[in-house]
Symmetry: C2
Amino acid sequence: MRTLFLSGKAFIQEKYYIVKNHQATIVDIARTLNLSKSTVSRALTGHPNVKAGTREKVLEMAAQMDYQRNQLAISLLTNRTQTVGIIVPEFLSFFFPKVIIGAQNVLAEAGYNVVICHSNESYETEVANTKALLASRVDGLLVSHTKETRNFDHFRVFERKGIPVVFFNRIVEELGGSKVAVDDYGGAFRAVGHLIQTGKRRIAHLAGPDSIQNSRNRLNGYLDALRRYDIPVDPALIISYDLTLDKANIYVNHLLNLPQPPDALFAINDPTAIEALKVIKSRGLRIPQDVAVVGFSDDPVSALIEPGLTTVAQPVDEIGRQAAALLLKQLAADDERPEAETVVLETRLIVRGSTV
Amino acid sequence: MRTLFLSGKAFIQEKYYIVKNHQATIVDIARTLNLSKSTVSRALTGHPNVKAGTREKVLEMAAQMDYQRNQLAISLLTNRTQTVGIIVPEFLSFFFPKVIIGAQNVLAEAGYNVVICHSNESYETEVANTKALLASRVDGLLVSHTKETRNFDHFRVFERKGIPVVFFNRIVEELGGSKVAVDDYGGAFRAVGHLIQTGKRRIAHLAGPDSIQNSRNRLNGYLDALRRYDIPVDPALIISYDLTLDKANIYVNHLLNLPQPPDALFAINDPTAIEALKVIKSRGLRIPQDVAVVGFSDDPVSALIEPGLTTVAQPVDEIGRQAAALLLKQLAADDERPEAETVVLETRLIVRGSTV
DNA sequence: CTGTTAGCGCTTTCAC
DNA sequence: GTGAAAGCGCTAACAG
């Protein structure tokens, strides 16, 4: 039987640990076969200048030794990790997982791995995430920032280092980099228009935090729809909140307790709208006769509950695919980065029992 | 103004790319400050043997240069990446994201990064995932295998290389490595017992694929509950399926079309049960009078729909935390790996309108 | 307290 | 067709 040689460190460790904790390297293969590591490397990477017989022997020995190339060493050498980072603020609702899957499909096809980071809506965590991704030398970044993020310097670092960043869903206008958004303004405008057309006049808006650009756009869509139909804007009916559902519960109750309560509610997203439905039902009010409700995103749950939730659908996995595609475009350019692009995807109103 | 030196490659690249695409290294800092890279390294890592003034200068220059340590180089040197891989078969339902969050919290506290891989219920993808994680030299692995996986050799490689693997949710009994499961058998037994106690006698079971260990355990719990109450087992009422919801729809309809249709259904998981509720309602049958339904996992949606879904709750993020803790235990041991452990967590029946 | 040296695993010239 | 040598960025002996 042929002896299996092991590279440097392992020889020493062998005394204590046996072979178990050593990962085979090209040097191990080279020594066992009496070749140089250059030849082994060539055989493994499919370089043409290797004799067919040699290549076979190398491949066979590699399999026998469970050889697995060390991506760390290659990345260190080539200065490219073939890895893309994705930072999302949460992933318990369907939205971000679906975006991630869309992005991953496109990136995997192009040979990129994906590292997913969960900032948990915390600015601190988000900054830590960017540091970790920088340290692990990702080639690019996809990001949807937290609701707390108001300072974007941690993303500017990527820009300075020439690492492309693509913002999606929660985008940052003042930063360079490509962006993928949906037509939040138009979606909100149509949603509120729909409520008005069904006869509603006191339409409340449970808005998202001002720090998130799509919250602002949806608010503007709401405001312009009211103006379009000459309905006075009542500031008491507009509440901006931090997206934690127990707060939504409090605010919906507050709105319903007003001397002149709303006859409809446009919520920043579906979880908020669903929470509102619960509150409204628990108070014995009829939906949509007493209070109609519209959400945003078309969460799968919206079709399951009763009444079904009218909502503004967004092409969720398309957001991920587009973001990935824009990043790949940046990554493809060897020298000069191509100009950043912004993609805005369409939204679509889905009418269900909560409004008609 | 002081000149900022740049290490080797950058000098050449500078002609073409300017400085933009160069990431500062300790050599850059060392040259700029007229120090050796060892001293810079020591200052940066907080080694005691550095003059306070020197440390300050280094830290300041590092910040000025946007220095970010290269984790690749460190990992190559230390043979540890401080990174743990997690492979999950899907993450559109709440379950796996929540497990991941639980695991991530524990691992982050111990200084580990997490790379999440999505096998998409595909054996091929899962094997590719393990290869990628091996190549990127993760220190450990958390995994819940796909429904297609029947050959586990790709996990045995980790074992051979001394990289600890912890299985959760879908565990593999014949493999070494720690495991985290819930009491699927007991949960199923109690769920079916509950149905029997509410007067049901023809209880169908929409089971998961035989390849998944918890499907088998839940099936056994179902069978033993029937036996315990001397209710004959009718094979026509047991259907094992592949967890794609459109199939669930077909099978539920099939069951309801039987000459002697079931008066209750125990579903392998909540999405299946919710699909069943839809079918049953659409056929004008009353829930639970005509057909009662029980699910498994307590998906948040189960509390939102009408009627609410009776279900077997599992401590989802605890599964993640426990899996991470078991992995850390393996990782902590420098030389000999401690013996693998198996943790079984309790389940709890949550009774809602779909059964009473 | 600081510098010198070696080497982690790999690819890539440059020789032969 | 193959080998020798250099070097990616960093840490850790070993010297002073």
